[in-house]
C-alpha cells in the first residue's frame, strides 16, 4: 500500500504560501497601507478629548496561522487588524470604521465597507487587503461589525489574537504542528477544487482550520494520507440530522463555534442546503481518501488524489517493473 508521502510533500511545496517573515513582497505591501493609515490619522483626536487617535496592527488570518495557500488567480489576500486606543463609548463602531474607509479612499483603488472589515482593492495590483477595525476598549477588544447602511452596526467582542494562538497551539511537537498545517492546506485545495468559488456555497477556511485543529489530537508519523482520513472522518461525524419541513426531508446540519469570543457558529452564513451539500462532499472526500489508502498501485492512488485535490497533486507514473538487472559497460567517448 503506497503511503504517497513523497507526493504529498511535493504537492505541499507547490501550494503553500510563505509566511510574512519569508515573503518580503507581501510584508511590504501590508506595511505600506498601515503606514499610510497611520500618517493619514496623525492629526486625528478622539472626539471630545485632546487625546490622539492611534492604533496598533496585528496579523490575522492564514498568514498569522501559517496555513495559507497560493491563490488560484494570483489575488493575494492580506489580513490585518487595526486595534484603536479607544473605548466602545468614545466611538460608535460605524463612525470609526467609516473614518478608516474615508482616509484610505483614493483614486488608484476601490475601498469597500464590508460587514467584518474594510477591503482595499487595487486596480493594477495582484492583491487586496482586508482590514478589520477593533477597539482596544481597555484590553477588552471589540470588532466594528456590520455593513455601512445596516442597522446592525455594533462593537462585537472579539479575540483575534487568541484565535491565532489557539490554532498555533495545536501541539508542542513541531512535526505534528507541521502535519496539521499541511492538512489544513490540503483541505483548502480540496475546497477550491470541489466547490464553486464565490457565494457562500463553500465552507469558510476558518471552519476547516478549526475542525482540523480539533481533530488533531493525534499525529500520524506514517503519512499525511492517514492524517487526512482522520480529519475527514471527524468533520463528517460533526454533522447532525435536521428535518427540513419545506423540502420534507432529512438534511445534514453542522454547528461549529469559534473557540474564542464571539463563540459564534463559523458556518453561520451557509444555508441548510449548502451545509447538506458540504456533508455530501466530505463523505465523497472520505471515501476517496480511503480508496487511495487501499489502492495497491501508486499510479492509481495518485489519480484518485488528483481528483480530490486537483492536478497540482503529482501523478505517479504507471511504471512497468524492469526485471533485467542492469549492467552498464565502461567505455570511451570522443
Amino acid at each position: 500500500m503506497p503511503n504517497m508521502q513523497k507526493e504529498f510533500d511535493t504537492f505541499h511545496e507547490k501550494i503553500k504560501l510563505k509566511k510574512y517573515d519569508e515573503n518580503k513582497d507581501l510584508r511590504d505591501k501590508r506595511d505600506l497601507l498601515i503606514d499610510e493609515l497611520r500618517d493619514a490619522l496623525k492629526d486625528e483626536k478622539i472626539p471630545g478629548t485632546d487625546k490622539s487617535l492611534t492604533f496598533r496592527s496585528i496579523n490575522q488570518g492564514s498568514y498569522a496561522m501559517n496555513t495559507g495557500i497560493r491563490p488560484k488567480h494570483d489575488d493575494y489576500d492580506i489580513d490585518v487588524g487595526v486595534i484603536f486606543n479607544v473605548t466602545n463609548e468614545e466611538y460608535e463602531s460605524g463612525t470609526l470604521k467609516k473614518l478608516v474607509r474615508d482616509k484610505l479612499n483614493k483614486s488608484n483603488r476601490t475601498v469597500k465597507y464590508k460587514r467584518p472589515c474594510i477591503t482595499v482593492e487595487y486596480k493594477t495590483e495582484d492583491y487586496h487587503v482586508d482590514l478589520a477595525v477593533y477597539s482596544d476598549n481597555n484590553s477588552d477588544i471589540h470588532i466594528a461589525w456590520g455593513k455601512e447602511f445596516s442597522d446592525e452596526k455594533l462593537w462585537y467582542k472579539s479575540e483575534p489574537e487568541e484565535l491565532t494562538s489557539w490554532v498555533a497551539d495545536v501541539s508542542t511537537d513541531p512535526d505534528k504542528a507541521a502535519q496539521f498545517r499541511r492538512c489544513v492546506r490540503f483541505l483548502k485545495k480540496w475546497k477550491e477544487k470541489q466547490f464553486n468559488s464565490g457565494g457562500n456555497g463553500a465552507p469558510p477556511s476558518i471552519g476547516l482550520t478549526i475542525q482540523t485543529r480539533k481533530a488533531f489530537n493525534f499525529y500520524d508519523k506514517k503519512s499525511d494520507l492517514n492524517a487526512l482520513i482522520t480529519v475527514a472522518k471527524y468533520i463528517k461525524d460533526s454533522f447532525c440530522d435536521e428535518y427540513d419541513h419545506a423540502l420534507s426531508k432529512w438534511m445534514k446540519n453542522i454547528v461549529v463555534d469559534l473557540p474564542v469570543a464571539p463563540y459564534k457558529n463559523v458556518y453561520y452564513k451557509m444555508t441548510l442546503i449548502q451545509k447538506d451539500k458540504f456533508h455530501e462532499k466530505v463523505d465523497i472526500l472520505l471515501e476517496a481518501l480511503e480508496e487511495a489508502e487501499r489502492e495497491e498501485s501508486a499510479h492509481k492512488a495518485s489519480k484518485i488524489l488528483r481528483n480530490v485535490f486537483g492536478d497540482e497533486f503529482p501523478l505517479v507514473e504507471d511504471v512497468k517493473e524492469a526485471r533485467v538487472m542492469p549492467y552498464v559497460t565502461s567505455g570511451n567517448n570522443a
Binding site: D318, E321, N332
Partner: protein
C-alpha cells in the same frame, strides 16, 4: 514538470524526457573553452500508459572517470550507481541509455562514440532491445536510438532539442 521533451518513435511509442533532466544535462554544456567532456548513464522508467518510456534521471561524472576537452572515459562506478538506483526504486528506475557532452553547437557522434554505443548494445544488460544516447552540444541536445540486432545493430537519430528555444 511541464514542457517535457517528447519524441514519438515509430514502432516503439512515445519517449518522454523530463524537463528537470534536460536542465541538469544542459548545465554540463562545454561552453567556455576550458570545459571538459562529461558523461554518464541515462536512467528511465518503462511505462504501461502515458508513453512508452520516461527518461528522467542520470548519473553524473564520477571521480574515477577521465574527463578531457575532447575525450571522456566512463568508469565502472556508473554500473554500481545504476544497480543501486534500480534496487532502491523497487526495479522501477533502470538503465536506458548513455549521455555525454561535445564541444560543438550541434553535436554529431564520432567513431569512438559509435563503438562505445555498439559495445553497450551488445555487452550491457537492459530491458528490451533498445538504448538511447544523448550528446549534449553547446546549443542542442541530440538523441539517437540504438536497436540491438542479430547481425548489424541499428543506430538512428530520432530527435533534437534546441536549448535556445526552450
Amino acid at each position: 514538470m511541464t514542457n517535457e521533451w517528447e519524441i514519438e518513435v515509430h514502432g516503439y511509442g512515445l519517449v518522454r524526457i523530463s524537463k528537470s533532466l534536460i536542465e541538469h544535462l544542459l548545465s554540463y554544456r562545454q561552453i567556455n573553452s576550458s570545459a571538459a567532456e562529461s558523461g554518464g548513464v541515462l536512467i528511465g522508467k518503462h511505462l504501461n500508459s502515458n508513453g512508452t518510456l520516461l527518461i528522467d534521471d542520470y548519473t553524473p561524472p564520477q571521480p574515477s572517470d577521465r574527463q578531457g576537452r575532447y575525450e571522456y572515459y566512463r568508469s565502472d562506478d556508473h554500473n554500481r550507481l545504476v544497480q543501486k538506483i534500480w534496487q532502491e526504486s523497487q526495479r522501477k528506475s533502470t538503465y536506458v541509455g548513455l549521455w555525454h557532452t561535445h564541444a560543438e553547437p550541434i553535436p554529431n557522434y564520432s567513431s569512438v562514440d559509435k563503438r562505445d554505443w555498439n559495445i553497450a548494445l551488445n555487452k550491457s544488460m537492459y530491458e528490451g532491445d533498445r538504448l538511447f544516447y544523448f550528446i549534449v552540444g553547446q546549443t542542442h541536445i541530440r538523441c539517437w536510438m540504438g536497436t540491438k540486432r542479430a547481425v548489424f545493430n541499428k543506430i538512428e537519430l530520432i530527435g533534437e532539442y534546441n536549448a535556445n528555444l526552450a
